[in-house]
C-alpha cells in the first residue's frame, strides 16, 4: 500500500527528530552543570572558596563578644591537620587571624583541598574571608609540615542571639588529574 510507504517515510523522519531531541536533552543534562555553577556565582550562593572584598569602613561592635570554635578534619588522606588555637573570643567586625598546620605523614606527595563548613549554616552570610588555604589546592611533599593562615571578619550583622559559632575545615585528597576547585 502506498499509504504504508508514506507512513514509513514520515515515521523515519519523526524518529530522527525525536532522537535528536533526546540527544539534545542528554547534553542539556550536562549543560546544567556549568549553568548551576554560573547561577551560584551570579547569585552569590556557595561562595565558599573565593576571597571576599574588604569593606572600606569597618565598624567593630565592641559591646558584643562572640566565641569562635575552630575545627579541622581530614578525609581519606594521610595528613595531620589542626588549628594552632581551638577557639577565640572576638568582637564582631574585628579582623581575626588563625593559623592552621598540616603535616603529610606519608612517603608520597599528596594534593589536598580543604572545604569549609559553618555552624550555624547561615554564618556564611556574615563571614567575610580575605585569606584562606582553602582558596587553592595544597601540595605537600613527603613528611612536609606547613603552617597556613586564615584571615576573616565576622560582620556585626550576625543575629544577636548567636554567641558561639564554629568554623570547620575538612581536607579531601584530590586524585591525580583532577584540578582544584575552579573558582
Amino acid at each position: 500500500m502506498g499509504m504504508v510507504n508514506n507512513n514509513s517515510k514520515a515515521n523515519a523522519l519523526m524518529m530522527k527528530k525525536l532522537l535528536v531531541f533526546t540527544l539534545v536533552m542528554f547534553v542539556f543534562g550536562y549543560a546544567l552543570v556549568p549553568f548551576y555553577e554560573k547561577f551560584c556565582e551570579v547569585t552569590g550562593i556557595n561562595n565558599l572558596l573565593r576571597p571576599d572584598v574588604r569593606a572600606k569602613e569597618n565598624w567593630v561592635d565592641e559591646e558584643r563578644w562572640i566565641t569562635i570554635e575552630f575545627d579541622a578534619n581530614t578525609r581519606g588522606l594521610p595528613w595531620q591537620f589542626k588549628p594552632l588555637q581551638t577557639s577565640a573570643r572576638i568582637h564582631p567586625g574585628e579582623s581575626v587571624n588563625v593559623m592552621y598546620e598540616i603535616t603529610n605523614d606519608s612517603d608520597r606527595e599528596v594534593v589536598g583541598q580543604a572545604i569549609p563548613s559553618y555552624s550555624p549554616r547561615y554564618l556564611d552570610k556574615h563571614l567575610k574571608k580575605f585569606e584562606c588555604f582553602c582558596f587553592t589546592k595544597q601540595v605537600l611533599k613527603p613528611k612536609e609540615t606547613r603552617q597556613m593562615p586564615v584571615q576573616f571578619v565576622i560582620e556585626p550583622g550576625l543575629p544577636a542571639d548567636i554567641h558561639t559559632v564554629t568554623i570547620s575545615y575538612t581536607f579531601f585528597e584530590l586524585p591525580e588529574g583532577v584540578n582544584a576547585v575552579k573558582n
Binding site: 507512513n7 514520515a10 515515521n11 519523526m14 524518529m15 525525536l18 532522537l19 531531541f21 533526546t22 540527544l23 536533552m25 542528554f26 547534553v27 542539556f28 543534562g29 550536562y30 546544567l32 552543570v33 548551576y36 551560584c40 547569585t43 550562593i45 556557595n46 572558596l49 578525609r75 583541598q113 572545604i115 549554616r121 579531601f172 585528597e173 584530590l174 586524585p175 591525580e176 588529574g177 583532577v178 584540578n179 582544584a180 576547585v181 575552579k182 573558582n183
Partner: protein, 528 residues
C-alpha cells in the same frame, strides 16, 4: 458505527506466527509486546511487593528483628527503584502498546522491531537490579533517589543499579519515540487530535515528558558513574563539585517522572468513568489542556523536593507557589470526572469501582501534596512517614488502582473472556480496606516525627506501625487474588460478549470483534 470491516473476521492465515518461546522473543506484534510488558511489570510488582513485605515485617515491632539495618536500607532502595522503573512505568507502556493502536485505528506501533527491543531490554535491567542483592556489599542502599555522597561511596551494587537505570532509560525513550510517532502519524482517517480518546492524549503528553527528562536522568547517572570510577568531581565537594547539584538535576528528571506515572492513569480513568456512567467525558478539551498544563508545570517545580537542602527564600517561594498551582489543572480533572458521573446511569463493575476508588484516594494524596508544598510544613515533615503516606496515596491508590481498573476494563477485549465479577469486587474492596489501613496511619506517624528509611523506631510509634504492617500484609495477599482472577479469566473465563460494556464508545469496542484479532485495523477504519 457498526461498520466492522470484513478483514477482522475469519482470516486465520493472518494469525500465523512462530509458536512457543520464539513467538515471544521474536514478536513485533503490539499485542504480544503489550502482553509481555504487562506480565513483566506484574512480576516486578511481586518482587517489589516482597521487598515491601520485608520492610513492613521489620517495622511490625520496634527493635531489629528480621532485617539488619544494611539490608533494610537495600530493601527500601530497591523497593522504590523496582516499583517505579520495573512495575508502574512498564505497566503503562504495556497498556499503551495494547491500546494506542486499537484506539486510534492503527495496524500496529510505528516501529515494530524497536518495540520488541525496548521490551527485551527490561528483563536485562531487572536481572541487574535483583542480582545486585548478591554481590559483595549488597544492593544499592542510599534510597531510590541515590543521592551522593552515599551513592558515590556504595559498592558494586550501585554500579549495577546505574547500569540498570541506563538500560531502563533507553527502553523508556525507545518506547516513547514509538508511541509519539504512532499517535502523530498513524491515526485512522478522520481521527483528528481533538477526537482522540483521553487515554491516547495522556500517553502522547507522557511520552513527550519521557523524551524530555529520561535523557537528563541518563546524564546524571553517567556523572555519578564517572565520579565513582573515572575521577570526575561533579558531586564531590573536594574536587569542586556539589552534592546539592545532584539533587537539582535528579529532581529535574524526578518531578516530571511522578507525572509520567500518573498521567496515563488519568487517561485510563477518563475512559472507564464515561463508559460506566453512560455519558461522554465531561469537558473533554479542558481535560486535554489540563493534562498539558500539568506536564508543563511539572518541569518547573522540582526543587520542592529540596526545601531543606538550602535555598534562598525567593527560590522556596517560587517552587512553593508553582507546586500549589498544579492543584488547579488537577482540580479541573477531578471536577470533570465527577461531572461525568453526575446524573449518569452509573453501574459499578470492578473497573468503575477502581476508578472511583482512584478519584477518592488520589484526591487525598493530592491534598497531602499541597500540604507538603507549603515550605514551613515541608521542613517539618521532610523525610518523615507523612511523605511516604503522601506518595503512596498517589502512586498506589493513584497509578496502581488505575492500572487495575484498566486491566479489568480491557481484559475481555484482550482475551475474549470475562473475569469473575464477584472476585473482582472482592479484589477492589480488600485493596481499598488494606490500602487505607496501611497508609492512612502513616500520616499520623509522619506528623509525630517518625523518619523514613530507618529500620527501628521509638516506642511511641509502635501501635500505628503494627496497624500499618497488618494492612500491608493484607494488601500484599490481596494482590495474589488479582493474579488468580487474571489467570482464571485467561484460562477458563466465561466467553465475553462482543461488547461487554454497553457504554463504551472507543474504536476497539465499536470497530473490532472480541477478542481483538491478532492483526487489527490493517485497513484503517473511517472515523466520523
Amino acid at each position: 458505527m457498526a461498520a466492522i470491516h470484513g478483514d477482522a473476521h475469519g482470516h486465520g492465515h493472518d494469525d500465523h506466527h512462530p509458536s512457543g518461546i520464539m513467538r515471544w522473543i521474536t514478536t513485533t506484534n503490539h499485542k504480544d509486546i503489550g502482553t509481555m510488558y504487562l506480565w513483566f511489570s506484574f512480576a516486578m510488582f511481586l518482587v517489589g511487593g516482597t521487598l515491601a513485605m520485608g520492610i513492613r515485617a521489620e517495622l511490625f515491632q520496634p527493635g531489629i528483628q528480621i532485617l539488619e539495618p544494611e539490608l533494610f536500607n537495600q530493601f527500601t532502595t530497591l523497593h522504590g527503584l523496582i516499583m517505579v522503573f520495573g512495575a508502574i512505568m512498564p505497566a503503562f507502556v504495556g497498556f499503551a502498546n495494547w491500546q494506542v493502536p486499537l484506539m486510534i485505528g492503527a495496524p500496529d506501533m510505528a516501529f515494530a522491531r524497536m518495540n520488541n527491543w525496548s521490551f527485551w531490554l527490561l528483563p536485562v535491567a531487572a536481572t541487574l537490579l535483583v542480582s545486585s542483592f548478591f554481590v559483595p556489599g549488597g544492593a544499592a542502599a542510599g534510597g531510590w533517589t541515590f543521592y551522593p555522597p552515599l551513592s558515590t561511596q556504595g559498592g558494586l551494587g550501585v554500579d549495577l543499579m546505574i547500569f540498570a537505570v541506563h538500560i531502563l532509560g533507553a527502553s523508556s525513550i525507545m518506547g516513547s519515540i514509538n508511541i509519539i510517532t504512532t499517535i502523530l502519524n498513524m491515526r485512522a482517517p478522520g481521527m483528528t487530535l481533538m477526537k482522540m480518546p483521553m487515554f491516547v492524549w495522556t500517553w502522547l503528553i507522557t511520552a513527550y515528558l519521557l523524551v524530555l527528562v529520561m535523557p537528563v536522568l541518563a546524564g546524571v547517572v553517567t556523572m555519578l558513574l564517572t565520579d565513582r570510577h573515572f575521577g570526575t568531581s561533579f558531586f564531590n565537594a573536594a574536587g569542586g563539585g556539589d552534592p546539592v547539584m545532584f539533587q537539582h538535576i535528579f529532581w529535574f528528571f524526578g518531578h516530571p517522572e511522578v507525572y509520567i506515572m500518573i498521567l496515563p492513569s488519568f487517561g485510563i480513568v477518563s475512559e472507564v468513568i464515561p463508559t460506566f456512567s453512560r455519558k461522554p467525558l465531561f469537558g473533554y478539551s479542558s481535560m486535554v489542556y489540563a493534562t498539558a498544563s500539568i506536564a508543563i508545570l511539572s518541569c518547573v517545580v522540582w526543587a520542592h523536593h529540596m526545601f531543606t537542602a538550602g535555598m534562598p527564600t525567593v527560590g522556596q517561594l517560587f517552587f512553593m507557589y508553582a507546586t500549589m498551582l498544579i492543584a488547579v489543572p488537577t482540580g479541573v480533572k477531578v471536577f470533570n470526572w465527577t461531572a461525568t458521573m453526575w446524573r449518569g446511569s452509573m453501574s459499578f463493575e470492578t473497573p468503575m469501582l477502581f476508578s472511583i476508588g482512584f478519584i477518592f484516594l488520589f484526591v487525598i494524596g493530592g491534598f497531602s501534596g499541597v500540604i507538603c508544598a507549603i515550605v514551613p510544613i515541608d521542613i517539618q515533615v521532610q523525610d518523615t512517614y507523612y511523605v511516604i503516606a503522601h506518595f503512596h496515596y498517589v502512586l498506589v491508590s493513584g497509578s496502581l488502582f488505575a492500572l487495575f481498573a484498566g486491566a479489568y476494563y480491557w481484559i475481555p477485549k484482550w482475551t475474549g473472556r470475562m473475569y469473575n465479577e464477584t472476585l473482582g469486587k472482592w479484589h477492589f474492596w480488600l485493596s481499598m480496606f488494606f490500602f487505607n489501613l496501611t497508609f492512612f496511619v502513616q500520616h499520623f506517624l509522619g506528623l509525630a516525627g517518625m523518619p523514613r528509611r530507618i529500620p527501628d523506631y521509638n516506642l511511641q510509634f509502635a501501635d500505628f506501625n503494627m496497624i500499618s504492617s497488618i494492612g500491608a500484609f493484607g494488601f500484599g495477599l490481596t494482590q495474589l487474588l488479582f493474579l488468580y482472577i487474571m489467570i482464571s479469566c485467561i484460562r477458563s473465563g466465561e466467553k465475553a460478549p462482543e461488547k461487554p460494556w454497553d457504554g463504551a464508545t472507543t474504536l476497539e469496542w465499536t470497530h473490532l470483534p472480541t477478542p481483538a484479532p491478532y492483526h487489527s485495523f490493517e485497513k484503517p477504519p473511517i472515523v466520523k
